[in-house]
Subunit: 337 residues, 2 copies
DNA sequence: GTTTGAACCTGGAACGTTCCAGACCTACGC
DNA sequence: GCGTAGGTCTGGAACGTTCCAGGTTCAAAC
């Protein structure tokens, strides 16, 4: 006999007893599967409601052998990751899978974040701009499907933006506005940085501006942006336009410009990268290269699920085109220069 | 295509078979419980390692009736929440409990975030600055322990900062520097905003500056900061110092000042609130009121666990004192004003 | 009047753990 | 010699589901 105790939550058996049917039938009804009559279904639902029954996902998942969980590893401090996670939630909404977040923080590295998701028996991993070495990722891939977002790497599924193309668009835009001394503050060894550097160089060449190519060491953070910007401004002939590795770094640059008494875009034009929520802030209002977060996350979820359900495509990279978003930090080059 | 049974992960039984012992014994060893001989223990661990065995938390939790999970509801867009989550991870590290994150995003409200954690059978909820109405929180409390961080609310455990005290410290600091026209940009209806407003007013009174009290409507975001700052600067006699609801809002203010050609702190001093990572950025370098994130998160985790383990203290609020962090955005009032 | 086949429902065996009661040793005190 | 007490180890019953193979019923088709 099952005694309903205040401490223990009601179970399938309790509901079954109350509705006068079998556990199996209640199970069916709870999952909204066919195979139960309308009237019985109603009675079962009523009983469940009265008891305040909620299915126990642990037991459910244990039995079905599945967790229906997509693990997400992300850097909680990264503006762009935050945007991606936000979009991932909506991308996963109707997929029948849930997201399990695991954050990377200054005190919690990627290995730890990943391990905790594995323990939860996630069925696939979506990793945002992971720093994990390629061979470690490859090993992970043998355990479960891994989709890497915003970083190119062999051996796993990758969804990334056409980074070089993004910088082409940035340079094209600036060149159209008459700029010639266009500099680039890069992202060092960060994922995507190399491609963006290359794109910048190619585009400058294409516009016949090779002699004005100038690449300054930057990084992912505001800090790096400020030091890079100071270095640029210290020159005898500072650039009239700057393309920057990402938006976060760009805000550091903007800050240095403002403090230096330089008007944006009158004196200097600035283009960021990511179109993260930072760029959209009214007081930043940054012209930037948008990564198509919506598409990228949709593709990532879809690919993860395909893999889970056994699609045996070779590991493949999907490249999503970026696009220019013109806001207030770019304007025509002044004639004097 | 692999021939190995990549489909099924190794289980306790597999390890037991390989080591030539019973499931129960392996279970003991895996949990590091006493009751197994040194040599057997070694053999079991070896077998587990060779098979790449990892315990299945679902089954484990199902059987033990516990999840050892602390659910965390947080706003992924909020700089301060990000700091709190970061600290929560380290606070929970050696507690024997894991964190389950559930983010609130523009498309995923608190109700949804909470529901998903309940389904995972979290044993307690830690909610960061929740917007959920008090009576809904109270109902939640009947289902499981709820610890609210950074918002005062009756009926649940609350860990919060002495917000009024924080503004006292800010005003004291500015008054000591000789400022008189000290304004406050508030946080509207945000958690804590009312207390900070009150603290500001009290402190101004205490310094005999009642006639200079000026409160401008602000908010949580950079945007709100910029419009509030513009309103302040438009006056015939703008303030020489500004205290602001939070750091994020303060960066908006700083930006307006910089663009307006005003030097900080020479022309205007600025004090933020939270000491979030924003404030520490070299180019922001914001004087601010630090909430003691370390202590708050430690207390939150401890309280949650106390509740889980049956400590039956009455619901109680713990107030943590804030402290002033002097950085570069405050300086002596200029004599001329 | 039998057969057929949906539509509805049931019982019991998994899933991979933990927990409990007890079995088997060996050593020890008397 | 006996009883007892630890220290090791084992078998099997939970935990709350889902899944599978079947069992009724009842109306329509032969």
């Amino acid at each position: 006999m099952h005694v309903t105790n205040a401490e223990t939550r009601p179970t399938l058996a309790d509901v079954a007893a109350r509705a006068g049917v079998s556990k199996s039938l209640v199970s069916l009804v709870m999952r909204d599967e066919p195979g139960a009559g309308a009237e019985t279904r109603r009675r079962v639902l009523e009983a469940a409601d009265e008891l305040g029954y909620h299915p126990d996902s642990r037991a459910r998942l244990l039995r079905s052998g599945r967790s229906r969980l997509l693990g997400v590893v992300f850097g909680i401090q990264h503006a762009f990751h935050v945007d991606l996670v936000t979009a991932l939630y909506t991308a996963a909404r109707d997929s029948g899978y849930e997201l399990a977040l695991s954050a990377v923080t200054p005190n919690r590295d990627e290995t730890e974040a990943t391990a905790s998701l594995l323990q939860d028996r996630c069925e696939a991993l979506i990793m945002l701009g992971p720093q994990t070495p390629a061979h470690t990722l490859a090993r992970l891939t043998t355990r479960l499907p891994v989709v890497v977002l915003a970083r190119g790497v062999r051996g796993a599924d990758v969804i990334r933006t056409a980074d070089a193309d993004g910088l082409h668009q940035a340079v094209d835009h600036l060149a159209r506005l008459g700029h010639q001394r266009i500099a680039h503050i890069d992202g060092g060894r960060a994922p995507g940085a190399a491609d963006r550097r290359r794109g910048y160089r190619e585009a400058m060449d294409a516009h016949g501006l090779s002699r004005h190519v100038q690449i300054v060491a930057g990084g992912l953070t505001e800090e790096k942006g400020t030091t890079a910007a100071r270095a640029l401004l210290d020159q005898s002939q500072p650039p009239t336009a700057i393309t920057i590795f990402n938006d976060r770094c760009a805000t550091g640059v903007l800050d240095v410009l403002a403090r230096g008494g330089l008007q944006v875009p009158e004196d200097v034009s600035v283009v960021g990268y990511d179109d993260s929520h930072l760029a959209r802030l009214a007081h930043i209002n940054l012209t930037t290269i948008a990564q198509d977060v919506h598409t990228m996350t949709k593709l990532a979820v879809a690919r993860a699920i395909d893999r889970i359900e056994g699609a045996n495509v070779a590991h493949r990279t999907i490249v999503v085109p970026p696009h220019l978003v013109i806001r207030g930090t770019t304007g025509p080059a002044t004639t004097q220069s």
